[in-house]
């Protein structure tokens, strides 16, 4: 299933005029996600860039019911919404199904919100959790998170004379979610809107929890040109750094085949957060990034029954 342009909601449920940066990937991810909606829906949004910049009182960018409660509880708040609607439906109110979407950044999902997310997945809550991953705590000023990749410089993993940025690989968030045996889980990138929006719709249509992990570049934190946001979102996939795949009822499927991967340097060199890696003394980190991407890609290919 791929949603055609005609099938997308023509309504702009996510209004322009909010205060997110030019070239903001997460903002694009939110607008696209709502394009995949199939009917009445509510949003539970974790604290983060999207939350603070789209709802500066008395303004709001949301033309759907939207709730922000706290940082780590988007999945738990969504759980309550679903339970509330279910209970009221028994009484005839509301008289139609309402979809529940939870939104959280990588900090709110990989780190502080992981427990609430895991609980909601295990309980089989009927909702879609979308993690918009810009690979650091951008809202508080670019601090490293469990989603920050190896070698990236952030304000708490700076590129120093001895330590070249973050020392650890990115956490395999989707792997953790898949381990809950949920019916639908997928990675996506805002560089490939049809693929992403289709996955959001699939997630909505699944009865039970669905997880979408969408890569959403942040020009401020990645120190990249705002005009390069979509290009970077594509390159992450085309270099095999961020494979696009989905798991439907336990079956893995590669949703974007990459015949001739572009060298990872093409992706890294457009981002200031990786610029230190091109110094000769940190060549080994560059190699480790390359190696890490290769191993992940081959593992995913194997799971999807594809050969390289």
């Amino acid at each position: 299933m791929v949603l055609s342009l005609k099938e997308l909601s023509s309504e702009e449920l996510y209004a322009p005029g909010h205060r997110l940066c030019a070239g903001c990937g997460p903002s694009i991810s939110a607008r696209m996600a709502l394009k995949g909606s199939r009917g009445p829906l509510v949003v539970s949004n974790a604290t983060g860039c999207i939350e603070v910049s789209t709802t500066v009182f008395p303004y709001t960018a949301w033309r759907v019911p939207w709730v922000h409660s706290l940082f780590e509880n988007a999945a738990a708040t969504a759980t309550g919404m679903e339970a509330g609607f279910k209970a009221l439906t028994k009484k005839g109110l509301p008289n139609k199904h309402i979809d529940v979407i939870a939104l959280g950044g990588d900090g709110g999902t990989f780190d502080i919100g992981l427990q609430a997310l895991s609980g909601a997945l295990e309980r089989g809550q009927d909702f879609v959790y979308i993690c918009y991953d810009n690979e650091a705590y951008m809202n508080t000023g670019i601090q490293r998170s469990g989603g920050t990749p190896l070698g990236a410089a952030t304000t708490t993993s700076p590129a120093g004379k001895k330590i070249p940025g973050k020392q650890e690989y990115k956490k395999d968030l989707l792997g953790i979610c898949i381990a809950h045996n949920i019916k639908y889980a997928a990675t996506a990138s805002i560089g490939f809107p049809n693929d992403y929006i289709t996955k959001v719709r699939k997630g909505i249509e699944v009865e039970g929890p669905a997880m979408i992990h969408v890569l959403a570049p942040c020009p401020l934190g990645w120190r990249s040109e705002p005009s390069n946001t979509i290009k970077l979102a594509k390159l992450a996939v085309q270099t095999t750094i961020f494979p696009l795949y989905e798991v439907e009822n336990g079956k893995y499927k590669l949703t974007m085949k990459i015949k001739n991967p572009i060298p990872v340097e093409e992706y890294l060199k457009l981002q200031g957060r990786f610029s230190h890696l091109f110094r000769p003394e940190f060549k080994n980190v560059l190699e480790a990034i390359r190696q890490g991407a290769k191993e992940r890609w081959e593992r995913i290919l194997g799971l999807c029954g594809e050969s390289s």
Partner: protein, 425 residues
């Protein structure tokens, strides 16, 4: 200033027999509904109250000594006795968060916790009141770690007392049952729209079997119809809830919230009157005993009041003019009612079942000292810290506190402004 209902309890020389089948009510022209007498502990009594209140969503997470509530309730669910969506969350933080999500759909929501669970919920408590979610939460008060202790004191709720929730303290299982039903009506009143905690002492009430009078299901339904929310997260009328309020707006929101909380005392009072007409049991803001002519008195909350009242009987029989004030409502703090209830008393002992580390006195005493100072009242007071980690407070100790208060009343001298009772030193 309007004073709200203050219940006066008399001190008969003999303890009455067990609770009668139909509770007598002295009010004129009121027929109290017939009630069934059952033997329930506090937790079971609350679970029954939640069932009869036709709660839409129960968000549960186990913690001693609250757990029996969610266990009993899950049996009601398993037996098909309720339509409630019963969700077992993976932490108290998430239980409170789910309560917010459910409450915003317009559902009637209940959760329960104690001790560490309440501490883990701390930030969510402020969100629930800030978003004006009329959630009802039972708190079986328990000590906070470290060192670990599962028994009763009120460190948990006292540590979160500024969270913007209406806070009620019940003396026994009967009160825990009655206040839980009333709490929904208070919380969901559209002029209030605030969450309520019904506190009762862990184990002392939560696990102690007592005879309680229970209303018929239809009588509770009559008293407490379905929730009529003023707004919900309805896709046909989208609202944005929990926005970012910067310097220009935040202060006003908090000021409005405070006003709603302060005014909620009127609703507590009104609901208590309606409930009295139904049940025959008088509730209100606070209860006094012997304050008409008392020279010295104790002010306390929760189960301690029962012991204090029985000690009073003995001391009154000996001709000692002692009195008792029991607060039901702790937040909003009933300033006028307390000042009025003090009457001509010359010394007051305040019972704090929680430490406020490093503070001059315990939290309850601090509130009392503040209101006395604000009114230019020179009443002699002293604080009693007692009962930490489930240490029993015994009649002889209460008698000692009354005698100390009488001595302060006679001499006008407070020897110890903070008195630790029941601790080995």
């Amino acid at each position: 200033m309007v004073l709200h209902t203050v219940k006066k309890v008399y001190y008969p020389s003999k303890v009455p027999p067990f609770a009668p089948q139909v509770v007598p009510y002295q009010g004129e022209g009121v027929t109290v509904r017939r009630q069934e007498v059952v033997g329930y502990n506090g937790d079971e009594a609350v679970a029954l109250a939640v069932k009869q209140s036709k709660v839409d969503v129960v968000a549960a997470y186990p913690i001693t000594p609250q757990t029996i509530i969610v266990e009993r309730f899950s049996e009601y669910v398993a037996d098909g006795e309720v339509d409630t969506e019963f969700v077992c969350l993976e932490s108290e933080h998430s239980a409170a968060s789910a309560s917010i999500g459910a409450s915003l759909t317009g559902a009637r929501v209940f959760t329960a916790t104690a001790s560490q669970g309440l501490a883990l919920m701390h930030e969510v408590l402020y969100t629930a009141s800030g978003l004006r979610c009329p959630i009802v939460m039972a708190v079986a008060n328990r000590a906070l770690s470290a060192p670990l202790n599962i028994h009763n004191d009120r460190s948990d709720m006292m540590g979160s007392r500024d969270c913007g929730w209406i806070q009620i303290y019940a003396e026994n299982s009967q009160e825990a049952y009655d206040w839980t039903i009333q709490a929904f009506k208070i919380a969901e009143n559209t002029t209030v729209q605030l969450p309520v905690t019904v506190n009762f002492d862990g184990f002392v009430i939560s696990h102690a079997m007592e005879t309680i009078n229970t209303l018929a299901d239809e009588d509770v339904t009559g008293f407490l119809p379905s929730r009529k929310p003023i707004f919900t997260i309805d896709p046909e009328h989208p609202v944005t809830v929990g926005s970012l309020f910067l310097q220009e707006y935040y202060f006003e929101i908090k000021r409005q919230q405070e006003e709603a909380l302060q005014k909620s005392a009127e609703v507590v009072d009104q609901v208590a009157k309606e409930y009295c007409a139904l049940s025959g049991r008088e509730y209100g803001i606070l209860e006094t005993c012997g304050m008409e002519d008392a020279e010295a008195a104790i002010l306390c909350m929760g189960s301690t009041a029962g012991t204090a009242r029985s000690v009073m009987r003995k001391m009154r029989a000996e001709g000692k003019k002692v009195g008792l004030i029991k607060l039901w409502l702790y937040r909003p703090f009933p300033v006028e009612e307390i000042i009025s209830a003090l009457g001509n008393v010359k010394a007051l002992a305040i019972m704090d079942m929680a430490l406020s580390f490093g503070a001059p006195v315990g939290a309850l005493c601090s509130d009392i000292a503040t209101i006395l100072q604000l009114r230019g009242n020179n009443l002699k007071i002293f604080d009693v810290i007692y009962g930490l980690g489930g240490r029993d407070i015994r009649p002889a100790e209460i008698e000692g506190i009354f005698n100390e208060a009488l001595s302060v009343a006679q001499t006008g001298i407070v020897k110890e402004s903070v008195k630790y009772v029941g601790v080995r030193e």
